[in-house]
């Protein structure tokens, strides 16, 4: 049933969901703020590029400037009073929040009564959402590890020397798009789906659709090999007799390699095409060491794999692209 606004309100007003509701306001605001600063700097950069004489003498920031001002201020009081102010504001927000909303407390822990839905705290719902698309070892272990290592790798694979310590969009287009896709379009969207869309049984409920704990979903997901009708008949002819009973499994395992390789090539070509688009990005790309390039490709290809798989699952109901007896992707 749709149009159940009460249901939506229940989800939004759950005390533990307040942070993600707040994030849905904060993140756009700070994205705007960052771009507001970046575009102002970009205009200055364009102006300086067009006027080398000016570039030689300009102070090169968009902040108010006066050549008689000292470049540096005393920490006390000019920085400390701002820190004090920030601490006061946060304290007030925290106090008001703590006075108006109580921290949730459910029934005592009981292993024989399952919570439905059983959800992780909001900041882990992205990972829990990933569990819907991948086997637990990928969603729960490989993906978090790749996120952590990938984040740590950023400074070492971003070979672009421009935009160090100031906001800019024009000089760092690729880096900024990558981060926005990773952080906002994938991570925060998954967290939001996990929070607002997933209901009892972690099933998909559109906003304003009533949660129904008795709902049963018929599992119509198929593997890619089933769609292509891979049944191992051909393979059975060439395999040694002892392996014949396994023909279907072997055929599936081998078949799955094809879409993975095709995806890898297409994604790599796409990334390569993006890297070659402007003169400047071409120069940086050529400057990168082999290790840098390979690492960048591995992480970008993997990152893009997530939305592709999610799309395949949600739209085409495909469960596994590649199924083997040991692991399935």
């Amino acid at each position: 049933m749709f149009g159940d606004w009460h249901q939506l309100w229940v989800i939004i007003s759950t005390p533990d969901n307040i942070p993600i509701v707040a994030m849905l306001l904060f993140v756009p605001f700070f994205t705007w703020l960052a771009f507001h600063n970046a575009l102002a700097n970009d205009r200055l950069i364009a102006q300086l590029e067009g006027d080398p004489q000016l570039a030689r003498t300009h102070h090169r920031t968009t902040y108010p400037y006066n050549s008689r001002w000292e470049r540096e201020l005393h920490t006390n009081p000019f920085l400390m009073r701002k820190e004090l102010l920030a601490a006061l504001i946060i304290t007030i927000i925290l106090m008001v929040w703590a006075l108006t909303l109580n921290a949730p407390l459910e029934e005592p822990a009981n292993a024989s009564v399952t919570m439905n839905p059983a959800k992780a705290p909001w900041y882990f719902l992205g990972l829990q959402e990933m569990l819907e698309y991948f086997d637990p070892w990928i969603a729960g272990v490989i993906v978090p590890t790749l996120i952590i290592v990938g984040l740590m790798a950023i400074p070492f694979i971003d070979a672009n020397p421009l935009g160090n310590g100031y906001y800019t969009y024009k000089q760092r287009r690729h880096a900024i798009w990558t981060f926005l896709i990773g952080f906002e379009a994938i991570w925060l969207v998954l967290v939001s789906i996990g929070t607002f869309i997933r209901g009892p049984g972690f099933m998909w409920y559109w906003p304003t659709q009533t949660w129904d704990p008795d709902r049963v979903e018929f599992n119509v997901n198929r593997n890619l090999d089933q769609i292509f009708g891979v049944n191992g008949h051909w393979l059975a002819h060439i395999l040694p007799a002892a392996w014949k009973p396994e023909a279907v499994i072997i055929a599936r395992g081998l078949f799955g390699i094809i879409p993975m390789v095709v995806y890898g090539i297409v994604a790599a070509l796409f990334i390569h095409w993006i890297c070659m688009r402007t003169d400047y990005s071409r120069k940086i790309y050529r400057k990168m060491s082999l290790v840098q390039t390979v690492t960048m490709y591995i992480f970008l290809i993997t990152m893009l794999f997530l939305p592709v798989t999610i799309f395949l699952r949600l739209v085409f109901r495909i469960k596994y692209v590649w199924e083997t007896p040991w692991f399935s992707i």
Binding site: A86, L105, E106, L131, L151, P161
Partner: protein, 298 residues
């Protein structure tokens, strides 16, 4: 006695002498008190003040700088900072806010520890006790809970600003990595705290969370190549995390110790390194003067 009394009657009286002395002393004391009351208008001249602060607090540039450098807590800052770096518009104050929230959490957390026992029998009751009987207990619990959520938000926004301002670039690559670890520690702090009330919410969240650990490749009983390496429910990583094969008393104790002792300690050390490196890498990265493409050596 009587003799002496007679003598004092004839000479200038002993009593008069005392009266005179007293009057003199009184005048001297009043004068001194008045003088010292005057001095109190300049507290920074007192010995007590100097003993505590060591320097004058006046508008002398030297003393302004010393007020930062001579204080254990403030000397985390340099004496002077780039004039535009103090703008909220550049850092959004997010790193500082994260740190402040951490302090709030330590403070409220220690207070909560006075009322909490990490045992299956008492944990849930302690929360009820806090909410219903302890003065300001509910407020305390709320503040700890919401500050934890705020800290997660602030960490993400801090990372977002560091990325958008390109502050992870040379020479700050390493500090970015320390930051990533701090973010992970922040999430782990939040997550280990989730189990402590020992209610359904925490129990099932931790059950879902640690079930994933079962699937760890090589080290989990249901992970790829785990069983082949001899992993089962009683010796895999999940068992190690929970101190058992189910979320129970041992898991509660482990979560408690990770949450209240181990992770805060580790996070404090990393924060120390993080702040140290901010200074060693030349202070806050910007706002730096913009560079042009023609000025790069690419």
């Amino acid at each position: 006695m009587a003799d002496e009394g007679g003598e004092s009657g004839s000479k200038p009286g002993f009593l008069d002498h005392i009266k005179k002395k007293t009057r003199e002393l009184g005048a001297a004391l009043t004068g001194k008190a008045r003088e010292q009351a005057e001095d109190l208008k300049k507290p920074e001249e007192t010995q007590l003040y100097r003993a505590i602060f060591r320097i004058k607090h006046d508008d002398e540039p030297r003393n302004r700088a010393l007020s930062t450098l001579n204080n254990l807590f403030f000397h985390i800052h340099p004496a002077k900072v780039n004039r535009d770096a103090t703008r909220y518009g550049y850092t959004w104050g997010m790193g500082g806010i994260t740190f402040y929230l951490f302090i709030v959490l330590v403070f409220t957390g220690v207070l909560l520890m006075f009322y909490y026992h990490p045992t299956k029998v008492q944990a849930f009751r302690d929360i009820l006790y806090l909410e219903n009987d302890v003065p300001f207990g509910q407020l305390l619990r709320n503040m700890h809970r919401w500050a934890a959520h705020l800290m997660v938000m602030a960490v993400w926004l801090h990372m977002f600003r560091v990325f958008m301002s390109g502050s992870y670039k040379r020479p700050r690559e390493f500090n970015w990595c320390i930051g990533v670890l701090l973010m992970v520690l922040t999430l782990l702090l939040s997550f280990t705290g989730y189990l402590l009330p020992d209610d359904q919410l925490g129990f099932w969240a931790v059950t879902v969370g640690t079930n994933m650990a079962r699937a760890t490749p090589l080290l989990g009983s249901q992970g790829p190549f785990g069983p082949q390496l001899g992993m089962n429910a009683y010796n895999d990583v999940r068992f190690g995390l929970l101190g058992g094969s189910i979320v129970d008393a041992n898991a509660l104790l482990r979560a408690y110790i990770w949450h209240c002792i181990a992770i805060p300690l580790i996070a404090s050390v990393f924060m120390g390194v993080h702040f140290w490196r901010v200074r060693k890498d030349g202070g806050i990265s910007g706002p730096s003067p913009v560079m042009l493409e023609s000025e790069t050596k690419v």
